[in-house]
Amino acid sequence: MALDPETRSQFLATIRRFVDERLRPLEAKVAEDDAVPDDVLAEMKALGLYGVSIPEAYGGLGLSMEEECLTAFELGRCSPAFRSAFGTNVGIGSQGLVMFGTDEQKARYLPGIASGEIVTSFALTEPEAGSDSGAVRTQAIWDGSAYVLKGGKRYITNANKAHLFTVMARTNPDVKGGGGVSAFLVPRDSKGLSIGKPEKKMGQQGAHICDVNFDDVRVGPEQRLGNEGEGFKVAMQVLDRGRLHIAAVCCGVAERLIEECVRYAGERKQFGQAIASFQMIQAQMADSRTEAYAARCMILDAAKRRDAGENVTMLASCAKLFASEMVGRVADRAVQIFGGAGYVADYGIERFYRDVRIFRIYEGTSEIQRLVIAREMMKGAQA
């Protein structure tokens, strides 16, 4: 649903204020404790952040893609770990259900996902299947009364908090590649499902990824998402939608870093003047600003087109590729502008520098985005 301008601006102003007043002051603490405090999670639930992409009929906000991106710009203005807490509910953890779920599946899970009562997670990556998502080895073999899941998933975001997993597993071992894979909704409390310890990561402390293991987990046919063999399609469409959201988060983080650079460069004095008066600093700031603006324009253009019904597979990949690489450069320049202070943890700049590195890897690496873009270009040429 498209919000009227007044509601939209009030909505975005509320998120901005929440980010500024509640989340930003906690960034260092969240990184140190490797946890987002429970009261903050409760506030995020109360604000409705877990349900921004869930249809209104199921208790969510049903935002358009453009509105979701505008929301992500604001949320990007603080440590990405905060967004990660509800990021799976907004994106990969819920959208398979929204796009392919039966009415009964939607009615059972979506209201809880929208309120944040149910945290979701998306289990595709395996030790030997990541970018090559068709290589999934986890099996789901029909034994006459249920699918029996066996195998392991790796680096699964929010696995340790999730109540419900969207799992990609091979239902037909005879079909290699994506065609043999189906998607399943698997509750955390299923017998035989276990979660590994959270991995120690380079950045985004407070957000967690873990192994998820399936040891003969029995899943009824009513838990299958889409038809048998449609798993790859589910995964691709879910990831397709998530790319614009991630791109928008990258853009938000970049804008935050630029804001920090402007403030610091205006205050920090060397050779008797603020470093902002030096052209080499100015050039770095100008490049960051230009690139962040370009990313914002790309994202909003692709989002509006998607809302208008266009296929934006290529544009979303362009936006994700550019925005995630852009924020890496912006973070690198921020460290440079801050100098020694950029390398010291107290200023938080080095934390962002580490945090943003994952954006070039998850939900499709930069390399995969380029493949998608080129593939879509060639489709156009052949048509």
């Binding site: 007044e6 506030e43 604000l47 349900g51």
Partner: protein
């Protein structure tokens, strides 16, 4: 009981103000406007007495004490946004009294009196002052016009039957006064911490009704009675000086600063 909460649209509290070059006032062009923070506290207080605090053991906020919250704002069309914020937080309906120029506290109090006469609330909860003009007069004037008791600078509000106990922040401590209802309460900073309007409620607020009135509807003359002579920025802070000894410090405090 029904509660009336007046809310004022003011310059956002995060912004730094600039005085107009001709010194007639503050330049508001293209600046973000928000609900006055003390008014937010007033809205929050009314909502807490309506919803209670089920998750807080022993809370003095009891659900159902307040049954209806009416937010009223006096200002231009855009003041509807401020009312919407109150509605998104949890107020039930709004009244905009449309005026395109600044309205002085006495005129505001007269309009509010007329709204009270029409709405018949048991309590009016107002911010103690607005952060733009810092008048701190409206609540008191309204109490006088209505002949109602008032509890100003409230840091705690407890309803007890036909009375309300208001704890006030006064010099040197806290004073609790018991007021007979109906009454006027003005809020101080520490009364509560206002909530963020939830995103679903912001969307729902759009469907809550706002009546639009004019001062003429209430027969109130809002023509200014005061004349602003001059608005200036506060003097720039001067750099400090270092003193070498306690003796020198005492000497300066006595003879230069004149504070001892």
């Amino acid at each position: 009981m029904k509660v009336l909460v007046p809310v004022k649209r003011v310059l956002d509290y995060n912004l730094k103000v600039k005085v107009k070059a001709d010194q007639t006032g503050v330049d508001l062009t293209n600046l973000k406007m928000s609900m006055n923070p003390f008014c937010e506290i007033a809205v929050e207080e009314a909502i807490r007495h309506k919803e209670g605090q089920p998750n807080v053991a022993g809370s003095h906020y009891k659900a159902g004490t307040v049954t209806e919250i009416v937010a009223v704002s006096i200002g231009p069309d855009q003041a509807q946004e401020t009312i919407r914020t109150a509605l998104a937080m949890g107020a039930d309906r709004g009244i905009l009294v449309k005026v395109d120029h600044e309205v002085e506290p006495l005129a505001v109090a007269k309009i509010l009196k007329a709204v009270v006469d029409a709405e018949q609330p048991q309590v009016v909860i107002l911010g103690k002052q607005a952060i733009d003009d810092d008048s701190n007069q409206t609540g008191q004037m309204l109490a006088a016009l209505l002949g109602w008791p008032q509890g100003t600078f409230a840091s705690k509000v407890e309803f007890a039957g036909s009375k309300v106990n208001v704890t006030r922040e006064v010099d040197g401590g806290l004073q609790t006064v018991a007021l007979d209802l109906p009454a006027i309460i003005t809020t101080d900073l520490r009364l509560n911490e206002p909530r963020y309007a939830s995103l679903p409620n912001i969307m729902k607020a759009k469907k809550k009704p706002i009546d639009v009135k004019t001062p003429g509807d209430f027969g109130v003359n809002v023509a200014p009675r005061l004349k602003v002579v001059k608005v200036t920025e506060p003097p720039k802070r001067q750099g400090g000086v270092k003193v070498k000894t306690v003796q020198e410090l005492v000497d300066k405090l006595k003879n230069e600063a004149g504070v001892l």
